[in-house]
Structures are given as structure tokens and as C-alpha cells.
């Protein structure tokens, strides 16, 4: 690191700790960093503007009815029974996986539905789009590029399906929220229907991955499917 590089880094961040070997032998750069630290302290002090007293806006009632909650699945009433059953299922699952028998497209559809159950708060009816930053956080460029122009995206969250990173998006359809799961590493041979109690959908093969699209039973998903598939470019 030379003097110019050191000073550029220090001016960008006066607390810069790299380039210690250069600073050790360059008194001028050490002095420059001290100057930047002093300047920064003045900037920090100047930025502490007086803040007026908080005036809370009039907050509207939030109707819980605007959240479309998926139908509740049957729950185990006895936790002990559930624990025993879960252990059996897990053991069976592991043994089937080890034996190579566990290859079922249906289980992917089930997992998609189960995942939606775990994120009911995502299913809000709203016209507020998420920010580009949130979308970028949920859909990292290393997975895919999602062109947001064709849809109103109101939710985006990085999630896991089958242990793999899956961007989870919600767009608003004619009959409420539509769930989109981008699964760049989940290759399937053909489209798989999803059939829930109050929802329907499909998992579409797209390149080397797949995309799950699930909405209300009344929703016309065909046009949404087309828009979504056209909006996604895998980058994996």
C-alpha cells in the first residue's frame, strides 16, 4: 500500500485499520489519519441536530382480515405423541434417503405448502411494494435476477426449501397474494400441480431449477406464471 492508497482508504473511513505496515513507516500518513479522525469527530458532532418532540401520527386500525391465513393444518394435541411420531418419521426419512428410495415430487409440493404455513404474515393484501434493497437481499444476484416491472412485489425473504436457499416472494394477484418460490437448484422433469385446501398452484421446471407459484383457488394463475417465468433469469 502506498501513501495515496492509504489516504484514500482513510478519507473514506477514518477508522481504517488496514495498511498498518505502511502507517508504521510513514509519519505523514499517520498525521493524515489523525487529521481525518479529528475531522470525523467534528462531523459526527455537527450531525447531532436537535430533534423535535415526537408527534405520533394518527394510526389507523389494522384489520387482521387483510391477512389471508392459510387453512390450519391438523395439529397434534399430545406433544409426546408428536415427538414419537416425528422421531419415527425422521428415522424413516433418513433410511429412505440412504436407500435412495426417497424421490418424490409430491414431497416438494408438500414442502412448499408447509413453508407457506410457516410464513402466514407474508400473505398480506397490500399495495405497498417492497424496496429494491429488500428484493436484492432476498434474491441475491448469485441466484437469479428478477425483473420487478411486471408485478407488484409486496414481500421478499430469503428462505430454505430442502436445505437450499430459496427466494420467497409475494406478488399481488386479482384474488389476493400469490406466493412465488424461486428454486434455482431444484430441477424437476415436468410441471407439478400443487393442491391445498384453499390454494392451488404449480411448480414449473425452469432451466436447471424450478419455480413454485401458489395462489387463491379463484386466481387465474396462467398469466401470472407467464409473467413470473419471463421475469426470472437464473445466474447460478
Amino acid at each position: 500500500m502506498n501513501c495515496e492508497e492509504y489516504r484514500e482508504a482513510t478519507a473514506a473511513n477514518p477508522a481504517f485499520e488496514g495498511g498498518a505496515s505502511h502507517a508504521a513507516v510513514c509519519g505523514e500518513c499517520r498525521a493524515y489519519q489523525r487529521e481525518m479522525l479529528a475531522l470525523n469527530a467534528k462531523i459526527a458532532k455537527a450531525m447531532q441536530l436537535d430533534v423535535p418532540e415526537l408527534k405520533m401520527p394518527e394510526l389507523p386500525e389494522i384489520e387482521t382480515g387483510t391477512v389471508a391465513v392459510l387453512p390450519a393444518r391438523k395439529r397434534w394435541l399430545n406433544p409426546m405423541l408428536f415427538a414419537v411420531a416425528a422421531t419415527v418419521v425422521l428415522a424413516t426419512s433418513i433410511s429412505l434417503r440412504v436407500s435412495g428410495v426417497f424421490q418424490s415430487y409430491g414431497s416438494l409440493a408438500e414442502e412448499v405448502l408447509a413453508h407457506m404455513d410457516h410464513e402466514p404474515a407474508a400473505l398480506r393484501v397490500t399495495d405497498e411494494p417492497i424496496s429494491d434493497t429488500r428484493l436484492a437481499r432476498a434474491v441475491p444476484a448469485k441466484f437469479a435476477i428478477f425483473d420487478r416491472n411486471a408485478s407488484l412485489i409486496t414481500y421478499a425473504q430469503p428462505c430454505k426449501i430442502r436445505g437450499k436457499d430459496v427466494p420467497h416472494l409475494i406478488i399481488q394477484g386479482q384474488h389476493g397474494p400469490v406466493t412465488i418460490l424461486l428454486m434455482p437448484e431444484e430441477k424437476i422433469a415436468e410441471a407439478m400441480p400443487i393442491d391445498g385446501t384453499n390454494v392451488k398452484g404449480v411448480i414449473l421446471p425452469v432451466g436447471d431449477g424450478s419455480i413454485a407459484i401458489v395462489g387463491d383457488r379463484e386466481e387465474q394463475l396462467e398469466s401470472i406464471q407467464k409473467n413470473v417465468v419471463n421475469s426470472v433469469t437464473w445466474t447460478t
Binding site: A11, A44, S131, T133
Partner: protein, 168 residues
């Protein structure tokens, strides 16, 4: 949990977040728009939007960047709505002066004026770094920039402030 207790829980959660982050929201808005009255309007709108969208905030540890992003968008919306209005420079200066009022000494007053005069592109990353404590990579994410661009802007912002203070 009943509907009313859910609402109460939701309101308590909101009040707690606002109590913790209101000052950051206001100062961020103020440095973005450089106008006391507009900053107050922007924060009011941001508080309202945060209330409506609270359920989208899954982790309260992420509340600060979430709220600041709302402020940033509300500020952009404010100026988008008013982009065709004529701006009276004298009024703007008076409003800026209102925000600057209260500096305890001349040097601090000069520094505030110098920060005010920075271009938006330089001022915002500086506020996010110095006042809000974000790293350059976090600032890059919030502003939709590459980290190198943020470093360049911060470097230039400090040099402009240094020059400005030396010529005072």
C-alpha cells in the same frame, strides 16, 4: 391470542421501535432533505407507513435499517410529488436556517453549513456512515451502489468538508 390482545401486542411492539429509533429517523430525514418542516412531514409519513407495514418486519434486530429505508423512500416520494413546484430560494434558506439553529458554537455552525452544502450523493453516505454507524458495504446495499462508489463518495465528501472548513 385474541384479536384485541394481538392488536395490543402489535402496538406495544411499534411504540418500542419508535421510541428507540425516532431520533435516528428524524436526523436522517433532516440531513436528506435539509429542511426542518419537510423532515417532520417525512418522518410522520414514515411512521404511518411503518405502522401499516409492521407485520413485514420479521426481526426487530433489523428494525433500524428497515425504518431508515422507509424514511429514505418517503423522502424520495415527497420530492417526487413536488418536483414541479417552484422552490423559493429565500424560503429554502430560511427553512434550512431553522434546522441549523441551536449550534452551540461557530465552528459547529460552520460544519453544519458545510455538510448542508454537500451534494446529496456525498451527504447521504456520510450520514449513514458517521451518524448511523453503517459499514460501506451496508451503505452500498441501502443505496443500491457498488462499494467502490460508496468509498469514493465518502472520500470526496470528507475532502470537500476539509476544504470548506479551511476556507472559513
Amino acid at each position: 391470542m385474541t384479536s384485541s390482545s394481538k392488536e395490543g401486542e402489535r402496538r406495544r411492539r411499534y411504540d418500542k421501535l419508535v421510541a428507540v429509533f425516532y431520533q435516528d429517523m428524524y436526523r436522517y430525514a433532516a440531513w436528506l432533505c435539509r429542511d426542518k418542516a419537510i423532515a417532520e412531514d417525512v418522518v410522520q409519513e414514515a411512521l404511518l407507513r411503518a405502522w401499516k407495514s409492521l407485520d413485514a418486519l420479521r426481526d426487530d434486530d433489523a428494525a433500524k435499517p428497515w425504518l431508515l429505508t422507509i424514511v429514505r423512500r418517503e423522502n424520495a416520494r415527497y420530492f417526487e410529488r413536488r418536483r414541479l413546484e417552484t422552490v423559493d430560494i429565500d424560503d429554502l434558506s430560511a427553512s434550512q436556517a431553522a434546522l441549523l439553529a441551536g449550534a452551540p458554537n461557530e465552528e459547529l455552525d460552520d460544519m453544519r453549513a458545510a455538510i448542508f452544502e454537500l451534494d446529496d450523493d456525498y451527504r447521504e453516505p456520510l450520514v449513514l456512515q458517521v451518524l448511523m454507524g453503517y459499514s460501506t458495504s451496508e451503505i452500498a446495499e441501502m443505496m443500491g451502489l457498488k462499494q467502490g462508489a460508496v468509498l469514493t463518495r465518502l472520500h470526496r465528501a470528507r475532502h470537500k468538508l476539509k476544504d470548506s472548513m479551511e476556507t472559513q
